[in-house]
Structure formats: structure tokens, C-alpha cells
């Protein structure tokens, strides 16, 4: 546990023991659900062809404690079925509210990347079974430690909310199946403008990024070794093109690595809901990194919803496009072309290495999904949801079926 979360917990503990009649609230939420891909051998983000009821299952508990008029403490723990129910402290922060317009929060918070970022785990709070993965599957980080400032005010019939944050994160994250030590320095701004029937949202985030992936080190070691060997050979033999290629090879690891890279994330979304029996909503998000093995990617969804008594019917179209960075192996290929006349064995080695480098980068991908869903508010504070999605990855087409029950308490 880190210092902010520890501070939050200590304060909470103190407050509980010091005065039993302080004002506090406990709220909770839970989802039991899961889904699977209907075609053998296909995968859809983290879902595969075996039905797993734990995949979407989550339980969370939040305690809010009013310390004074202006100061409150909040902790929220979440356990996910997908993480073997290992409980995690998702939120732990102090809120200072100097006036009704301003809130300053410090502790473990969440970046407001998306419209639903604040309540991603609270299935009851949104109409879909899960937020569309084509957009929401983009970023692996769920919390940060730092501060944020929230400003709210109304301008005529409009309500404005501005949220700015600064965060330093040091987490061990799963990165394409590899454990990766991730250090981020992030800042961002999210603006939401809403009136009685329209919500508009946009956010921008910048990050100085260091993601250290140990699994890449042997490859980088081999590239550097080959590069310095060729540099020596090129210098001794007096072949300037080979020296150039060797210098290019020596630069490959720094180019591929996700260390000292900056990244930006842009998001925009809208909801039209006139309180009648229909609504439409959509969201777009794009990630752009300095050149590294992380691809550029964008995703969006659009949803139309129809309400009929306790039922809500949803039709969603979602798209996710990955544009991989290419050309990391170019210096290896040019070195190979030069070496082919001098030393075919070295040339073959360079070709093999170029192949490994190319296979380390992400393949291009375009995922398109149509999803039909229903939400049934069958009793107070509980909703049943079912979804059928049809996905086209360009390489395969398959169905994805999911069910869930959400509740809040």
C-alpha cells in the first residue's frame, strides 16, 4: 500500500474510533455475469470460447465519512472475479470542499479518461452489460495516486463540470500478457457540459511514460550486440553504408522501448436523452504515443436505446482500429543487404533478427461489433442484462453472448 491510501485509511480509522456518531455512509454494488465467444478458438478482448461466469463479476463496497462540513474521506474496495476475487483498493481519498463550486481531492483516484471512468465497475449505473470494449478496452490503468480538482457551476440552463488532475503512477501492469513495471507522470482535463437533455464531454490527457518490459531485454541485448559488431566491422573495413546501418541498429532498442516516451489520449462523447422513451449516445477515444512498439489506436461506439416500462433495448455499433508502427527492422534489412555480398551467414542472421523484431510489434487490427442488448429492471436496485454481439475482425466473424445481474445496495 502506498502513502496516500495509507493516510486515507488511518484517517478513517481515527474518525471511526474517535467518534461513533460522525456521519458516515456505506454503499455497495455487485455484478454477477459473464460471456463467451460462440465460435471455437476465437477470442474477443479478454473473452474466449468457454463461458466464464466470473469474467464480469465484481463486488465493491464504499465508505464515505463526513469529517467536517468541508472535509470528507472515501474508500472503495473492489474484488473482481477475473482477478480471483483479490480485493483491490480502487479509491481512497480525502475531499476538501471549500465552496459548493470547488472540490479538491487527494489520494487514490481514477483518471477521468472516459464518460464512464468514474463508475466502470458499477454495472447498475449504465445501460449496457459492459462498457463497449472497442473503446473501454484501450487503457489498462484503473487508478492513480495524486490530486484532482473538480469545478462545477451552472451557466443558464447548462451545468459545467471541469476536472483536472495530476498523477504519478508506479504500478505493475499486465502488458500484452507480460508483467510490466509502469511509471507514468500524467496530467489531464475533462470537461462536461450538460443540460436537461444533452450531455457533451471531452477530455485530454498527457503522460510521460516508462513501461519497462523485462521480456524484451534479451531481444534488445541481441540487437545491441549485433549492432556493435557491425559497427566495428564497418569501421575496420571502411564501408560507410555499413557504419550507418550499424548505427541505425544500435538505435532500435531505444526506438522500440516504451521508456521516456510521451503519450496523449483524447476522448469525446455525447448523450441525448430527452427523458422520453429513447436515447442515443456515443463516444470516441484515441491514443497516440511517441514512436515505440505501442501502436496508435482509435475506437468509438454509438448506441441507440429504447425504453419500454422496466425494459431498455440497446443497439450498439462499435469500432476499434489499431495502426501499428512499422519499420523498426529497416536498419537490420539494409545491413543484411550489404552483408549479403560479404558474409551470407551474417546476412541470414540479420534477416532472422529482423523477423523477430517485426513479430514483436502489434499486428494491425480492425474490430467492428454490432451488439443487441436488453436491460430489465426487474426489481428495486437490481437489473438483469443480456447481450448478443456480432464481431468482424477482418480475419474472422463470430458471435459473443453475455448475461449479467447488477445490483446496488
Amino acid at each position: 500500500m502506498n502513502r496516500y491510501a495509507a493516510i486515507g485509511l488511518v484517517l478513517l480509522g481515527l474518525a471511526f474510533s474517535a467518534s461513533a456518531d460522525e456521519k458516515w455512509d456505506i454503499n455497495g454494488f455487485a455484478t454477477v455475469g459473464g460471456g463467451y465467444v460462440l465460435d471455437d478458438g476465437e477470442t474477443y478482448y479478454d473473452l474466449d470460447d468457454s463461458f466464464n461466469l466470473e469474467a464480469d463479476s465484481t463486488v465493491g463496497l464504499q465508505i464515505d465519512l463526513e469529517l467536517t462540513d468541508k472535509l470528507s474521506a472515501t474508500v472503495q474496495g473492489v474484488a473482481r472475479g477475473g482477478d480471483d476475487w483479490e480485493p483491490e483498493l480502487e479509491w481512497a481519498y480525502l475531499t476538501y470542499q471549500p465552496s459548493s463550486h470547488w472540490k479538491i481531492r487527494a489520494g487514490r483516484l481514477r483518471q477521468p479518461f472516459y464518460m464512464l471512468s468514474d463508475y466502470l465497475e458499477v454495472g447498475y449505473a449504465y445501460p449496457w452489460l459492459r462498457p463497449p470494449k472497442e473503446v473501454y478496452g484501450r487503457l489498462p490503468i484503473s487508478w492513480f495516486e495524486g490530486v484532482d480538482v473538480i469545478y462545477t457551476r451552472s451557466i443558464g440552463a447548462w451545468d459545467l463540470q471541469a476536472q483536472a488532475y495530476y498523477a504519478e503512477t508506479d504500478q505493475l501492469l499486465d502488458f500484452a500478457g507480460q508483467a510490466a513495471d509502469t511509471e507514468l507522470e500524467q496530467a489531464g482535463l475533462a470537461l462536461t457540459l450538460s443540460n436537461d437533455w444533452l450531455t457533451l464531454r471531452g477530455s485530454y490527457h498527457h503522460s510521460d511514460t516508462n513501461i519497462y518490459i523485462p521480456a524484451l531485454e534479451p531481444l534488445f541485448g541481441a540487437i545491441l550486440q549485433v549492432g556493435s559488431g557491425l559497427l566495428q566491422a564497418g569501421t575496420q573495413l571502411g564501408i560507410p553504408p555499413l557504419v550507418d546501418a550499424a548505427n541505425g541498429i544500435l538505435g532500435i532498442p531505444a526506438e522500440m522501448a516504451i521508456t521516456d516516451k510521451s503519450a496523449s489520449f483524447i476522448e469525446a462523447g455525447f448523450i441525448v436523452d430527452r427523458g422520453e422513451n429513447w436515447f442515443v449516445r456515443g463516444e470516441w477515444a484515441g491514443v497516440n504515443y511517441d514512436r515505440s512498439i505501442i501502436p496508435e489506436s482509435t475506437g468509438y461506439y454509438a448506441t441507440a436505446g429504447l425504453r419500454d416500462r422496466n425494459f431498455t433495448y440497446l443497439l450498439t455499433y462499435a469500432s476499434d482500429t489499431t495502426d501499428p508502427r512499422t519499420g523498426f527492422s529497416d536498419p537490420l534489412v539494409s545491413a543484411s543487404a550489404i552483408m549479403a555480398q560479404i558474409d551470407p551467414v551474417t546476412a541470414a542472421t540479420l534477416d532472422a533478427l529482423a523477423l523477430v523484431v517485426d513479430s514483436t510489434t502489434f499486428p494491425p487490427a480492425e474490430i467492428e461489433t454490432w451488439t443487441l442488448g436488453v436491460r430489465w429492471d426487474f426489481m428495486d436496485s437490481m437489473a438483469f442484462k443480456a447481450e448478443y454481439g456480432y464481431t468482424d475482425t477482418g480475419l474472422a466473424k463470430f458471435g459473443v453472448a453475455s448475461i449479467a445481474v447488477d445490483l446496488v445496495f
Binding site: W91, S100, D118, E121, A125, D196, G275, D377
Partner: protein, 144 residues
Amino acid sequence: MIIKTFRKLLPLLCLSSMLYSSVVAADIAIIANPGFAAESATAAEVKRLFLGKSTSISGADAMPLDHKNGDAEWQQFYDAVVGKNASQLRAYWSRLVFTGKGKPPKALDDDVEVVSAIAADSSLIGYVDVNSVTSDVKVLLTVP
């Protein structure tokens, strides 16, 4: 068997609930302490106050006071003024509660408790059946 009996009783049940609702469906009064700085309110202002989107009525600082959800006044108020049903409202507050961005108004059991709480606090705004209004509070708005 039970279902059949229930079906026979159903028209009767409907009828009695219609009678019941025609009896209780009096107008709803939006009330404040006599010392509250504003004399009237619009339905839109009251809606924004009860959804936590504003903290004032006609420029005067105000705090909403709710009924425990499910009672007749609650249903009538949220239907007529706020335009949300119980599950929509629950989902709305879930989006704020679990993010520390807001929490639902404090709620009391019935009109008597609401009237006496408002009589004792000049910033509270509540709603009651018009027949429950006493001289300890003033009416800002009446909705059918």
C-alpha cells in the same frame, strides 16, 4: 390454483388501487421554512435541486429534503417534477455516489417529519401532500 384465484381478484385489486390512488393523489406542495429567502420556485429549479445539480432556489441557498422512496408523495413528486422512475433515479445516483461527486438528499419517513424538520431549518426544501401543510412552513410551488 393460486394464480387462478389471483387472476379473478386482479380486476378487483386494480379497482381498489384506482380508488386508493384517487383518494391520495392530492397536489404536492413544495415547502420551505417561513424564513427562507425566496417566496416561490419553478419546477425546473426544484428538479435541479433534488438531482444535486444546484444548491439554490431563486438565488437563496437551499438543501433538499426527501421522502424515503416508495411512498405516495415520493412517487408523485418524482413522476411530476423530476420525471424519473425509481430505477432511473437509482442509476442516476449510483453514477454520483460511487465517484464522490454527489449523494442523494437526506430522506425522512413521512409528511409530518418533513414539515417539522423544515419548520426547524431555514435552508431545507421539501415536498408534502398539500393537506399536510401547516402554518409552520410556506409553500413555494404546488404541482398536480
